[in-house]
Amino acid sequence: MTVSDNPGGERLAPGDRSGALPAVLDLAVQYNFIVIFFFVAAIATMLSSNFLTFGNISNLFQQAAVVGIVAVGMTFVILTANIDLSVGSVAAFSGMLVAVLLAEGRNPALAVATTLVVGVAGGALMGGITAFARVPSFIVTLAGLVSIRGVTYLISEGTPIGNLPKEFGSLGSMLIPILPGFDFPLMGIIFIAVCVIAGVVLRYTVFGEYVFATGGNIEAARLSGLPTRLMTMGVFAVSGLMASLGGVMLTSRLRIGQPTAAQGMELDAIAAVVLGGTSLFGGRGGVLGTFFAVMLLQVLRNIFNLLGLGSFYQMTVTGVIIVAAILLNRLIDHRMGRE
């Protein structure tokens, strides 16, 4: 078989060939989720004069924070071509655990810290089973989804736990004046901080580089000496931590630990990650996309609420938008010659 290269040995990707395409448009294609976000936000502004107000934007962040933080953890997992179906149950369990500890009169900081450690351990356990017993993460975390929810009912005896201390409740309700006359919710700030930290970890640490490498080609990563199994464990630990933090914040906001909380949250988180351009096949994507996708979904919900349309419309349109965004990404992938 004879293979001849072009002179110079270089092959231009279809995307590079179109020199006429302005750099701005190139960026717009690469970060299409941001464009879509602002497009939807513009529509929202036109539809309702209430949309672009400080109060409404604060609300958006307050409501997006829990699922947003969970989705950031999910981004790590999906970047390694795994999936974590247990996050909703882990969030509910953590929210319940922190409520139980507080009801026993423990120090709030200690209760939160204990809960987060338990979340990390649970995630690492599921990741460890996935990595070392070579069971697909879909199965391991599906089992986690069921039994962790069961444990949540067990520790709460199936009933909500209320009467939580005031200082704990402030985590979910405190407003921080960041500009004169503009109070921003603490939860929103935590969400943004988590996104920034996750972005830095993915971009500027060896752990982050290994996440991309493991997801991009696990065999090549292993043959480059990477501890691929520990990486799998690590991303599930991150996801466990994020789900746990989300659950604690949810309990704080509601001032009550609910065993039925966060049902189906795993699907919202996965939808956001995928909508944000992270590939389910691993190795491609990032937290920036997840952030904008979470906010996009929240804006959609917001529009429907402002227009007084019920949740049936919301569900229908949300699904359609996810599929449309994925098809758009496939098209871009195809044009970039990544098939």
């Binding site: 500027y204 640490t205 060896v206 580089e209 090549a220 292993r222 043959l223 000496g225």
Partner: protein, 496 residues
């Protein structure tokens, strides 16, 4: 006798400029075992895929029973009476034997499977191949040899006139192979034609009636097996083209022993003893597919488990993970650079710098680029912008990125598994010039290749591997290349 299958001057080109098959012809008569022989890259598999309908030829024609036919899919090929049995046996392991036998053409009426007819047909086909297992066992429970028989029976249920078998011996032991041969002889008596692909001469001599030799995408000729001496066949496979295999001048290797494998027992029956590489030396591994070259290199790299005693730089060496080997300065360029060597969608510099990150926690993309780019340039990699995904590079440049990974990581023992696969002649000589330079700078290099020409031109020593053992070491500057090739093909020690 009239031809059952005729292939006339078939060519296959892949745009823009890959010629997989230049001009191949073949004529098969019913009731014969027609062997197909050729070195790696001679075009055997392309020809088979055209004959079975998986590829459409660029030019030339195929006749079945004297009638020209255009096959658009393997399904059409099967309906025309040509059945292909792939080396990896495309049976569905979870289904039963009879389900597999009629997969794609079940006896059915109005979409309802006629189970009785299927059972009877399957039993009949199994009887013809002399199978001792029942039609209702699951294929996954069968041994490889029995799976081979099931695959042949499947061809019979399709009423195949020509059954093509692609290296059936690769996964079988001698006794199992003998059984397959008996079945082949029986089928031939019943009038079926067999096209038997192999590069093991002794098998061809045992089972074949005629043999067609391919070389460089062309049919060299068809020979009567019984009346053609072995040497003539080897000559036809190798050809007279000696111009490519001029050895460059090599200075004598002066370094001490870098790696010494005293004994090693590994996967797939690997058994190596007394294998040495010195600093500055290039040692080639030659042998047929499945001779253990890849397993040996993967074992040395800690990617396959083994038992044995190895010294690296005078100290014990027993890697359990690639990480162990990398710490001791061993790097592997794996056989398949796309699925094992590179992360195709990741940027060039990130691929190149990956193994070198293991001592660090924080990452500076600028530092990664600054460590990667001089090495890539030094290896004369044509890459444009190192931010681009490595997928966009040509094969030769991708291979240089793989080499750069280990050079940046500080490896001094380089294991290269089929480094030139898929490269054109220019890129190959470029690559080997680079390997020679790395050796001159003191690296110990082991190169496995199925292309003896390359090893002959580039190496200081060549070990011939056969069925998992290193059977003989040659000094290419003092040995005729054909002696090495014969040892590889026949698996016997040549007298030196």
């Amino acid at each position: 006798m009239a031809d059952i299958l005729t292939v006339k001057n078939v060519a296959k080109r892949f745009p823009p400029n890959i010629v997989a098959l230049e001009q191949a012809s073949l004529s098969v008569v019913s009731g014969e075992v027609h062997c197909l022989l050729g070195a790696n890259g001679a075009g055997k598999s392309t020809l088979l895929k055209i004959v079975s309908g998986a590829f459409k030829p660029t030019s030339g024609e195929i006749l079945i029973d004297g009638e020209p036919i255009r096959l658009r899919s393997p399904h059409e090929g099967a309906r025309a009476g040509i059945s292909m049995i792939y080396q990896e046996l495309d049976l569905v392991p979870q289904l039963t034997v009879e389900q597999n036998l009629y997969l794609g053409h079940p006896p059915a009426r109005f979409g309802i499977i006629d189970r009785k007819t299927r059972r009877e047909g399957a039993a009949e086909a199994l009887r013809r191949v002399g199978a001792s297992f029942a039609p209702d066992v699951r294929v996954e429970k069968l041994s490889i040899a029995n799976q081979q028989l099931a695959a042949i029976a499947r061809s019979l249920t399709m009423k195949a006139k020509v059954i093509i078998m692609d290296e059936p011996s690769a996964a079988l032991n001698e006794r199992e192979l003998e059984r397959v041969f008996e079945v082949i002889r029986e089928l031939v008596r019943q009038g079926v034609a067999i096209v038997y692909v192999s590069h093991r001469l002794n098998e061809i001599q045992e089972i074949g009636d005629r043999v067609t030799v391919l070389r460089g995408g062309r049919t060299i000729g068809t020979f009567d097996v019984a009346r053609t001496p072995e040497n003539a066949l080897v000559e036809a496979v190798i050809g007279q083209n000696r111009s490519l295999i001029e050895r460059g001048p090599r200075r004598a290797v002066a370094g001490g022993v870098a790696l010494e494998v005293k004994s090693m027992k590994g996967l797939h029956g690997l058994e190596i003893s007394d294998f040495k590489v010195r600093w500055g030396e290039i040692v080639g591994l030659s042998g047929l597919n499945g001779s253990g070259r890849t397993t040996f290199l993967r074992s040395l790299f800690g990617a396959a488990s083994f038992e044995g005693a190895i010294l690296l730089d005078g100290r014990d060496f027993h890697p359990r993970h690639p990480g162990d080997a990398i710490r001791r300065g061993v790097g592997l360029a794996p056989e398949s650079r796309k699925t094992e060597g590179l992360i195709l969608d990741a940027a060039i510099y990130r691929n190149a710098a990956l193994p070198a990150l293991r001592h660090r926690r924080l990452l500076s993309h600028r530092a990664m680029r600054e460590s990667a780019e001089p090495v890539l340039k030094d290896l004369s990699t044509q890459y444009g912008d190192s931010e681009r995904p490595v997928r966009q590079l040509s094969g030769g440049n991708q291979q240089k990125v793989v080499l750069a990974k280990w050079i940046i990581g500080g490896s001094r023992v380089l294991l290269l598994d089929e480094p030139s696969r898929g490269l054109d002649v220019g890129a190959k000589s470029d690559l080997y010039a680079l390997v020679r330079r790395l050796a001159d700078e003191g690296a110990a290099v082991i190169v496995a290749s199925s292309e003896l020409e390359e090893l002959y031109a580039a190496c200081d020593a060549i070990w011939v591997f056969h069925e998992g053992r290193n059977i003989q070491r040659f000094d290419p500057s003092a040995t005729d290349r054909d002696d090495i090739l014969k040892a590889s093909i026949l698996g016997v020690r040549a007298s030196t």
